[in-house]
Amino acid sequence: MTGQEIVFALLGAVAVGSGIMVVTTRQLVHAALWLVLSFGALAGMYLVLTAEFVAWVQVLIYVGAIVVLLLFGIMLTRAPIGTAPDLDSGNRWIAAAVAVATAALLVTVVVMGFGDAKMPLEAGGGSAEALGSAVFRTWVLPFEVLSVLLLSALVGAIVLSRTDIGGARSRGKGD
């Protein structure tokens, strides 16, 4: 094994381990913080694979924005210190089975598809320039379709959150 492979494997172990902690910890805020570690390790794996732009997007969007949003939501609703007994749902074993099955499916697909084929890592292959020209030349149509999807989600969120432009039923009682 080369040094890169060892670092990659270690980061993978950290990502999976902290991912398991996210769903098994009995403290709500700890789950969000374990998620930070998981995302961070994932960003590290992207870095090892020379996809540096994706790695730092991962940090900026997921660690810097999504987790902060999660923490904000938790603090706004309830933020108990110590264990919360109601964090376990009755579906936990079904959920675990679905998770294991999904993981098995994905691993099987990757192994059947690529086996132990190796691809050479080229420096700069994941730079902003390479990624930008791929997204805006080859993949510009899916990219635009995705942005329309996001736009509709945005408009939907505004409609849901603004009572003054919603349907007659959702008009506030106060005014």
Binding site: V29, F53, V59, L60, V63, G64, V68, L71, S127, A128
Partner: protein
Amino acid sequence: MLEIVVKLALVAAAFAVLPLLVGQAEHKVMAHMQGRLGPMYAGRFHGWAQLVADGVKFAQKEDVVPRAADRWIFKLAPGVALVPYLLVLIVIPVGPGGQVALDLGIGVFFALAVMGVGVIGAIMAGWASANKYSLLGGMRVAAQLMSYELPMVFAASSVAMAAGTLSMQGIVGEWRWWWLPWQAVGAVVFFVAGLAELRRPPFDMPVADSEIIFGPYTEYGGLRFALFLLAEYAGIIVLCALTAVLFLGGWKGPFLNTELGWLWTGLKVGVLSFLVIWLRVSYPRMREDQLQKLAWAWLVPLSLAQLALTGVVKVATA
């Protein structure tokens, strides 16, 4: 190898010294603006050693963790708040050529991504203290970050578009004097959003002492509190350095760019730091709704307009 070790040592030294310089300057500048003298005794000459004395005082204090607090998170939070700023300093160029510890191809993006992580430290502190004022402060920190991160990234990407690169050395290399008027709106948006992300006055609602004591840091004392303070001043250095590099031409000056590049960068960072202190003395604290309104109704549209302007000029001159 030796070169990189020396550079990292220099970055570490800058990280240790510059925040203290800004802190001392804040003591003195604020005092004189308010018709006071500020610290005068420590170190004999105009109180120059005040912050060293403060450091000694902080180090002597008892290390207290509240009984109801979440011990691990509580202890981890100051580190999470401080380390990201150290990482950002590594990629900031002080002069042309090799005068940067690490010239990342996507330096701007790296800096913005890592700066956002530091805020998690304040949120962790707010939650782990088991104090309702801390928790309120933590929520305000989170709300503020979510609003101001967007215009900051937009403003930075406007410069990156203008220069055609995300590398900070590349951006300074492309910079011309007429970028000052061209990117002026972006510069103001970036600086204001950065101040808000650092929770500096007038954006210090999360630590509003008249309402929530000291927000997320209420329960902290001694060295851990000192680390949070250090993070704030290191953040000022990082923000001023980023603004200088992205919008004010970094190491480019009126003459001798190659030889005196570090001096021009230093001067710009110094002037911007003075501006940060000046703003603190001049403006009253903004209310939470005013904060949000400024971000969403002013900074985001302005930064989008700047992006459009950058794109139009770029295409027209290409």
